[in-house]
């Protein structure tokens, strides 16, 4: 389903501060299941998820999705793929301040032009599912870390994506909140047949029983790949 062939990513290429985040990495990811990318900080986990999720382009190599080459698609088509195939949960939540929880969840669907009632009901259903119904009209800057991450999770699912990408979803949460968010990510979502890709160096994540595959990265290279 997702295939990476000798993918490299270099930031600030040709400059004194050049940084090789990924080095000729090849990988094959099947549909469904939970895959965790683990490794120390700076190992290339976030960059890898960014490339898979079409948030950036590789410096070299090819990325295909169900056999279709993504790495050289024009921006417009890349956005379409991103919108319909991927849902993102970021380490820093990346919610839009000043908007309510409900508005943040609805935001990815605005360009689709769905009827308002349908969109709002869908967003409310997600908030119900993540026990955020009472916070629907609260501004996101008033939320706790766990609530913000659950809002981000609901936002990632509003367009019903096939692949959910979560970058360090527990990095800014304490243990109790981490367990709560992880429970939602690993339990309920993977049960629905979604492909879940998580980057983390939190043992709570990669030691969870629901994880199907762990890929270990170091210095931009894959140094381990184990099925659980």
């Amino acid at each position: 389903m997702i295939e990476l062939r000798e993918v490299s990513k270099v930031f600030n290429q040709g400059q004194p501060n050049e940084c090789r985040a990924l080095r000729k990495l090849s990988l094959h990811l099947e549909r469904g299941g939970i895959t965790v990318f683990k490794g120390p900080s700076g190992s290339g986990k976030t960059t890898l998820l960014t490339l898979i999720g079409c948030l950036a382009r590789p410096t070299a190599g090819r990325i295909t999705l169900d056999g279709r080459l993504l790495s050289n698609l024009p921006e417009r088509f890349l956005t379409e793929v991103r919108r319909h195939t991927f849902g993102f949960v970021f380490q820093q939540f990346n919610l839009i301040r000043g908007l309510t929880v409900l508005e943040n969840v609805m935001l990815p669907a605005y360009p689709l032009g769905k009827p308002y009632r349908e969109l709002r009901d869908g967003a409310r259903a997600l908030l119900d599912r993540f026990r955020l119904a009472a916070k629907a009209d609260s501004r996101v800057e008033w939320l706790s870390g766990g609530e913000a991450q659950r809002t981000a999770l609901a936002r990632a699912l509003i367009n019903d994506p096939a692949v959910l990408i979560a970058d360090e979803p527990t990095a800014n949460l304490d243990s109790a909140l981490s367990r709560e968010v992880l429970g939602l990510l690993l339990g309920e979502l993977a049960m629905q047949g979604r492909t879940v890709l998580i980057s983390s160096h939190d043992p709570l994540v990669f030691e969870a029983v629901q994880v199907d595959r762990i890929i270990e990265l170091h210095d931009g290279r894959m140094v381990g790949d184990s099925q659980c």
């Binding site: 921006e75 379409e80 793929v81 993102f88 605005y110 259903a125 699912l157 096939a162 979604r194």
Partner: protein
């Protein structure tokens, strides 16, 4: 479809969706625009202080420019309306290029010119009143049948001299003797644009004041049978009376037009520095996206917004702010010019030295003028908001979020 727990159909549909062109065309465009406007309004309100400040300055600028445009155009229109009844041809006598009294004998010569239906001698002149340091325009009005010491004065003149019907106005005659004139009427303020400083008197009174002999006039006014032939008649007059200077009504209108255009231009030059200051402010506020705004654009792209959606959002942002400012500024200017007495620019645009006319312009809206003002004030701002939005939107979402 609302997303409900346990009802995801991910297994039954192909995993990857590449929407077709037909799908894109089916998108409910209107709904999309509503969402974009909704988001834009929320974004504008989130930066309330900055946007409110910008809106106020913008409104003020539109107000000032629209005031000048509306007032000067209103003045030109009003002058043209009032001059509709002006004589088609005026003939003056020149001596070495200077105006000189016109001999009464010229009137017969003028009447004999083919195409001229009537020729009348006119008596008028200027009188400097040191009391108010202003010039009056004195004119004989035979149709009013005024007595030798009777006069009718313009509304502005009456106002500034604080005189009215029944009062006496004393003028110093050319021979040095004072001439006491009885005011029997004040001219209607509706025509004040042209007769603010006017003083109407009898022929006897005029000749007495200026010590003018009975066989001369200030100039002559002609009516022609076919107004379209006025310029041909003027040519014939110049041939028959080489010392004459025929002036056509169209030339008088052109002069008024040029005077108002000149004043309008001078005012715009004075406002130029204000416009420049606004452009710098607008560029700074609209063009310089903050790190937070850039990051926000990155987030929107990451969650599925296209570059086009960002541009449309920025377009709405620029349009909402600039159109609101334009509407507010233009409506304020319109009210100020047509109902508020145009106090702001009247001293510059009306002129008339000391005697400013007090009159109300007829409220009108000139579509062409509105469009020009719209293009000058709204379009640059929209462009200033679009360009930085586009620059931020074309970078990869990941790079935009990292800043």
């Amino acid at each position: 479809m609302p997303v409900e727990a346990g009802k995801c159909d991910c297994h039954t549909t192909p995993l990857l969706l590449f929407p077709t062109a037909a799908d894109s065309a089916m998108r409910p465009l209107l709904e999309r625009q509503k969402y974009l406007i909704d988001y834009t309004l929320a974004a504008l309100l989130r930066r309330k202080t900055r946007n409110l400040g910008l809106l106020l300055v913008y409104t003020l600028l539109v107000f000032l420019f629209a005031s000048v445009l509306l007032l000067s155009q209103g003045l030109r229109r009003e002058a043209a309306l009032l001059l509709q009844d002006a004589p088609e041809v005026v003939v003056q006598k020149l001596v070495a290029g200077r105006h000189d009294p016109l001999p009464a004998a010229w009137l017969d010569t003028l009447r004999r010119i083919r195409g001229v239906s009537s020729a009348k001698g006119r008596l008028w002149g200027y009188y400097y009143d040191p009391a108010i340091k202003a010039n009056y325009t004195l004119m004989v009005a035979p149709e009013r049948e005024l007595g030798a010491d009777e006069i009718v004065v313009g509304a502005a003149l009456a106002r500034i001299r604080q005189i009215g019907v029944g009062d006496y106005l004393s003028l110093r005659a050319a021979d040095g003797r004072p001439l006491s004139l009885h005011i029997i009427g004040v001219l209607d303020s509706a025509s004040e644009l042209l007769d603010a400083d006017l003083l109407l008197l009898s022929e006897t009174g005029f000749r007495q004041l200026f010590q003018l002999p009975p066989e001369v006039y200030t100039d002559a006014v002609l009516t022609v049978r076919n107004p379209r032939e006025a310029s041909t008649v003027a040519g014939k007059i110049a041939l028959a009376l080489p010392a004459s200077r025929p002036i056509l009504r169209a030339e008088i209108l052109r002069t008024y037009d040029a005077v108002f255009h000149w004043r309008e231009g001078m005012t715009f030059v004075a406002l130029g520095s204000l416009l420049l200051a606004f452009l710098i402010l607008a560029w700074d506020k609209a063009a310089g996206l903050s790190a937070e705004e850039k990051r926000e654009i990155g987030i929107l792209k990451a969650i599925g917004w296209e570059t086009g959606d960002i541009l449309r959002m920025k377009l709405w942002e620029g349009a909402l702010l600039s159109l609101t400012a334009f509407l507010a500024g233009y409506l304020l200017a319109w009210w100020q010019v047509f109902y508020g007495g145009a106090r702001l620019f009247a001293p510059v645009l009306k002129g008339w030295a000391v005697l400013y006319p007090d009159f109300r312009l007829t409220p009108t809206v000139d579509l062409q003028q509105v469009l020009v003002l719209l293009a000058v004030t709204v379009l640059p701002y929209i462009v200033a908001t679009l360009i930085p939005g586009w620059r931020a939107a074309i970078v990869d979402p990941d790079a935009a979020m990292r800043g």
